[in-house]
């Protein structure tokens, strides 16, 4: 039997704090770079060799990939012990990871892509924007304030139209990404809206609000979900989230799913 996948140990190219507590991690991973699609994730070992604590690998979305150089990037925020340990890994060291995992975003040719990301939720969306280069797509990025707005320059390189919302109005539109999205949809005519596909990632309340707007406007919507994961590979059934019917397993059915499958009030 062919072993398609392995636990990879790969070289860290850099691990830089780009904003307070926000890190950009670059890893040389030809294996992952060739096969990954936008929206997929990896499980990363944050624990030192020989130690069992913290016990689980951490899921991180693939932020960006350079298929030519085999470099992959992760963008992460320190929220606890695991991400803190991850932030200590230095250039030249090796990191253990598994990937690419899960279902990425489903992209169809004739659609108008609308990318909506809030806060660290923009992580999986740069790779997506890059792939959508040359389309009529729009990217809406949100943050609390200008200094927390992440990777704006990198998104601009995709050539897509970029709209920005900051809650305090320090940059771009004042308000929430959903408000910008609302105004954008209001401007489009019915037939364009039908062709739109929203791709989103961010805090749950933002995704829920976005989903409700999409329902009102009759726009299709995919979201990237987060939940606690033990394996990331479909073995444990631990990553269940409430769906319209029963449960979805984020690591296998997702993380990117059609927003209408989810039980948003659950």
């Amino acid at each position: 039997m062919l072993q398609k996948r392995q636990i990879l140990r790969q070289k860290v190219l850099s691990n830089t704090e780009i904003r307070p507590n926000i890190f950009l991690l670059k890893v040389a991973s030809p294996e992952i770079s060739v096969s990954a699609t936008p929206g997929q994730f990896c499980m990363l070992r944050v624990t030192e060799d020989k130690s069992n604590d913290p016990f689980l690998k951490r899921p991180l979305s693939i932020h960006w990939i350079n298929k030519d150089t085999g470099e992959i990037q992760f963008l992460y925020r320190i929220v606890g012990r695991g991400t803190e340990l991850l932030s200590l890994i230095r250039e030249g060291e090796e990191i253990e990871l598994i990937g690419p995992l899960g279902q990425g975003f489903k992209i169809e040719d004739k659609e108008i892509p609308i990318i909506v990301g809030g806060g660290i939720g923009i992580a999986p969306l740069l790779f997506l924007a890059d792939i959508l280069r040359g389309t009529r797509g729009v990217v809406i990025l949100g943050a609390v304030t200008k200094s927390l707005l992440l990777r704006l320059g990198a998104f601009k390189e995709s050539g897509l139209e970029i709209l920005v919302a900051t809650e305090d109005g320090s940059f771009g539109n004042k308000g929430l990404v959903t408000e910008v999205f609302d105004r954008l949809m209001a401007r489009l005519d019915e037939s364009d809206r039908k062709r739109c596909m929203v791709f989103s990632c961010g805090p749950f309340p933002m995704l829920r609000a976005l989903y409700h707007l999409c329902k009102i406007y009759g726009v299709k919507c995919q979201v990237s979900l987060e939940t606690f994961m033990a394996c990331g590979t479909g073995l444990c059934l631990g990553c269940a989230v409430k769906a319209r019917e029963g449960f979805l397993h984020v690591c296998k059915d997702g993380p990117c799913v059609d927003a209408k499958l989810i039980d948003w009030e659950g």
Binding site: L235, C239, A240, K242
Partner: protein, 301 residues
Amino acid sequence: MIDLKVKIGTLRLKNPVLLASGTCGYGKELSDFLDVSMLGGIVVKGISLEPRKGNPPPRICETPCGLLNSIGLENVGVERFIREKLPWLRDKGVTVIVNCLGNSIDEYKELSGRLGNVDGIHALEINISCPNVKKGGALFGTDPELTFKVTKAVREETDLPIIIKLSPNVTDICEIARACQEGGATAVSLINTLLGMAIDIERKRPFLGNIFGGLSGPAIKPVALRMVWQVARCVDIPVIGIGGITSFKDAIEFFMAGATAIQVGTATLIDPTSSEKILSGIIDFMKENNYLKIADMKIVD
């Protein structure tokens, strides 16, 4: 020269490394990483007569060197298992042990009857850490009499080797193991998870949707090993060791305690190839220490 084969009644395993129920799906999920047929066998995710949806999320919580889970025995049910999951395992030549869930003695009987006639199933593992709905939800596996009754009922229903999987949440594990032996069990496997919980202090509520969960992983290994040691000395049937096995060294400890075979559980979640690494580590250790068979490693006291 080294003979890795082990016998559990009429069940013959090519080597003593099994995958533990609930941590390896139905085998296919692992096949991207691992040639499952290389192992002694697989114990598939617990199966009940009817499909089950499982517990509300969150279902897992990391703990120091361990994992709490409250999956709640989510599974596709016996019919879909036989139709959709088993054929793949049979095609690959995997030794299949089916982990069986029931909420009454009748359910265990019916389930083992149904599974007993199916090609490609080599043994049943009876998970008695299930609530007995007829008796107010107390677990079968914490009561020696109920354990005896379940064992006997299943024994009468099928000729397959029957492994009873013990709950560690008991005062006297030997009393339960003896009840299995008396009921006609081919073997016992232990341990299932320790009952535990965690609290989310920010939200001020239990972390898991189900409040309680099962603790697994390296944290529980000392308890598992102690129980295997005790049970291997109080029954005459084979003992399968489970609990926190992450490296070949852990496996060797269980063989020395008296286990005939071992199961790798949570370790597979963290590294899907753990079982393979453990198997090759066992072989190297046996070579270096001139052990010819697994049973030679048992400590005779």
